[in-house]
């Protein structure tokens, strides 16, 4: 079970990533995916503004689809970037 050893410790500062944990939104139904909640959506894109794959965040398919919709909506109203160009 090598994947369990590679699980990073839970840390409040870090976005929850890595294998071994279930989908955040299935575990805690109080978290609503909303296109206005930029601080939540930011954890599901890279520094370059690209979408983080499902395998990295352990999000289930249902919630990943909802997340992508929310991120695309946030991009439309300029709350989130489409791309971040290197300085």
């Amino acid at each position: 079970m090598s994947y369990k050893q590679s699980t990073p410790s839970l840390n409040d500062e870090e976005p929850i990533r890595g294998r071994g944990r279930g989908c955040r939104f299935c575990l805690d139904e109080a978290i609503k995916i909303d296109y206005k909640d930029v601080s939540l959506l930011r954890q599901f894109v890279t520094d370059r503004g690209k979408l983080v794959p499902r395998r990295m965040t352990n999000t289930c398919q249902t919630h990943q689809k909802a997340m992508v919709t929310a991120i695309n909506r946030a991009r439309m109203i300029a709350l989130m970037p489409f791309t971040v160009v290197a300085q």
Binding site: E13, Y35, K36, V38, S39, R73, R75, M76, I77, A78, L79, M80, P81, F82, Q87
Partner: protein, 169 residues
């Protein structure tokens, strides 16, 4: 009033759709111009049997990218119930308004019972949304910004030379 537009076949009579509209205004316009646009949208919703649930002014925010050569914009958020054709009319009016640089409407739900929603909208909320645009709200940009709110450690960190990481980007 709108010309009567037939409801969709899936619409249940007596129920309404729940919409959310966000529009961004140019940052350099005065407060009364903000109020004028809000009043126009309010009139359209109320004349077409819509129910306003929420109106918020998110203030002048830095946008994630430039829109119509502007870096900042005043965000207005509306949440309302309405029927067929209402969004078309609102968006037509926003398109004709010069200070509006971006608008976006989403449908949150269909066949919502209007009685089930408690509307907190009144004249007070309306006037508050007109003046909220003056405050400069900087969005939380990075992890470093969050550190600033964190009291204890921050004071010590700033005293040590060389630990100040300065502005991000």
């Amino acid at each position: 009033m709108l010309e009567a537009r037939p409801p969709a076949s899936r619409d249940i009579p007596g129920r309404k759709r729940h919409y959310e509209t966000v529009y961004i205004l140019r940052p350099d316009i005065p407060d009364d111009a903000v109020v004028a646009i809000n009043a126009k949208i309010r009139k359209i919703i109320e004349e077409n049997q819509g129910i306003i649930l929420k109106l918020e002014n998110w203030g002048k925010r830095r946008m994630a990218y430039m829109v119509k050569k502007q870096r900042k914009g005043t965000y207005l958020f509306w949440s309302y119930l309405g029927g067929a054709g209402l969004v078309e009319e609102i968006e037509r009016n926003l398109k004709l308004s010069d200070p509006v640089i971006r608008f976006y409407t989403i449908k949150q739900a269909e066949n919502v019972d209007p009685k089930a929603h408690e509307a907190s909208f009144n004249d007070e909320v309306f006037s508050a949304a007109g003046t909220g645009g003056v405050e400069e709200v900087e969005p939380v940009e990075s992890h470093d910004d969050r550190r600033e709110d964190y009291d204890g450690d921050n004071v010590v960190l700033n005293d040590i030379p060389g630990t100040d990481r300065g502005e991000d980007n």
